[in-house]
């Protein structure tokens, strides 16, 4: 057992103390059991998406016609990804990226992520750090496409990061905010 040795003394009473370690070990064991039982091992996270729903018109405000912003439309086809920048109905630019056939459950489209980052650098109008507005990406997918493919494309879109000033500090945020095309 553990002990405390304070040296010999000339007095009658014994100065060395024995500490009983068994209750201490018991306490540690009980703590470990409690923590193991209540532990959360799975690491879940989330990915944002946004439904672009216009609010009800405000009759007190005058409608101010604005130039529509550029929006990145990502079309997922069987063989490729089509990246189309549109401003309203006008097509500003169009490019494609190969869609590799991937086996297994973990899908990853690194080439698409690079292509989206290049496109963002060329076309985006929200690149300044003080600009807190994100670019909009609209995902066009076939109704039969499995959800894991949707998440892989979404992951590639959110891989493109930009710096934004928050509380006088530059922090990395996703450059795009994603929404589904429901047509």
């Amino acid at each position: 057992m553990g002990g405390v040795d304070v040296g010999s003394s000339g007095g009658k009473r014994q100065m060395n103390m024995e500490i009983n370690m068994i209750p201490f070990i018991d306490l540690l064991m009980v703590t470990i059991m409690f923590l193991l039982i209540t532990a959360v091992w799975a690491n879940f996270s989330r990915m944002n998406a946004n439904a672009q729903i216009p609010g009800p018109p405000d009759p007190t405000k005058e409608i101010d016609p604005q130039t529509p912003e550029k929006v990145l439309n990502v079309h997922v086809t069987d063989s490729e990804f089509k990246l189309v920048w549109k401003q309203g109905a006008t097509v500003v630019s169009e490019t494609t990226a190969e869609r590799p056939k991937q086996a297994g459950t973990e899908l990853r489209y690194d080439d698409l992520a690079k292509k989206i980052a290049d496109e963002w650098k060329q076309q985006s109008s929200h690149q300044d750090k003080s600009d807190k507005k994100q670019d909009q990406a609209i995902l066009h997918v076939d109704n039969r496409l499995p959800f894991k493919e949707v998440i892989a494309v979404l992951d590639a879109i959110y891989d493109c990061k930009r710096e934004m000033m928050v509380d006088n500090q530059a922090k990395a945020f996703p450059a795009f905010n994603m929404s589904f095309s429901v047509r």
């Binding site: 703590t31 996270s45 989330r46 990853r108 109704n143 959800f147």
Partner: protein, 199 residues
């Protein structure tokens, strides 16, 4: 000693064999043999001590390290329940999970916080996007309840979708659109965070 026997060991036996009916416990076999090497062999003395001293310091160190590790990884917010029929996809660019209504979508049904809110099969059989009425009603009720509890705060409009990785986009889009109609335009998809080494 009579009869010319060499007295190697003192004889502790009582002259009267019936004097002590109860004897001290211990080894008995061949102890009466008056030879030194036999006595040494049967006594079992001189061997290794069967009691081993265990060093408690290393053991306590191990326990303390385990406790510290578990305390550091302890989550006070509680466990996020995921439907056992749902296999979530993996992703890299993710955010932390927040408190919001959970909509689970597996291969058969749609659930909101564990209670049934629609059928996945029905959406797939129809073959086109549709509003899931049951889901819409439940989410709308939740939104109104939140607003009655927090009348001063703006409604965040966030809900989290737990969707199985093999569910079709048609179902995902239908649920997404229904959530948006019910006043939840900020929809998040729950995923598993991919490890740094996995490809």
């Amino acid at each position: 000693m009579s009869g010319g026997r060499i007295k190697m060991f003192p004889d502790h036996r009582h002259p009267d064999p019936h004097a002590h009916a109860i004897h001290k416990p211990g080894r008995r076999l061949m102890h009466h043999v008056p030879l030194h090497f036999v006595h040494k062999r049967v006594a079992g003395g001189g061997g290794r001590n069967v009691n081993a001293n265990l060093n408690l310091v290393a053991f306590i160190d191990f326990l303390i390290v385990t406790v510290i590790f578990l305390l550091m990884s302890f989550s006070a917010s509680g466990e996020i329940t995921v439907d056992k029929n749902i296999n979530l996809p993996k992703a890299d660019n993710v955010d932390d999970v927040i408190e919001a209504p959970m909509v689970s979508v597996n291969g058969n049904q749609v659930l909101v916080d564990g209670s049934a809110a629609g059928s996945t099969r029905a959406i797939e059989d129809l073959g086109r996007m549709q509003k899931v009425d049951e889901l819409f009603d439940i989410l709308k009720r939740k939104r109104e309840l939140w607003k009655s509890f927090h009348p001063q705060k703006p409604f965040p409009g966030v809900c989290i979708l737990q969707v199985d990785e093999n569910v079709s986009s048609l179902v995902v889009k239908s649920v997404f659109q229904t959530a948006a109609y019910a006043g939840y335009p900020n929809v998040s998809f729950m995923v598993k965070k991919r490890g740094k080494t996995s490809n």
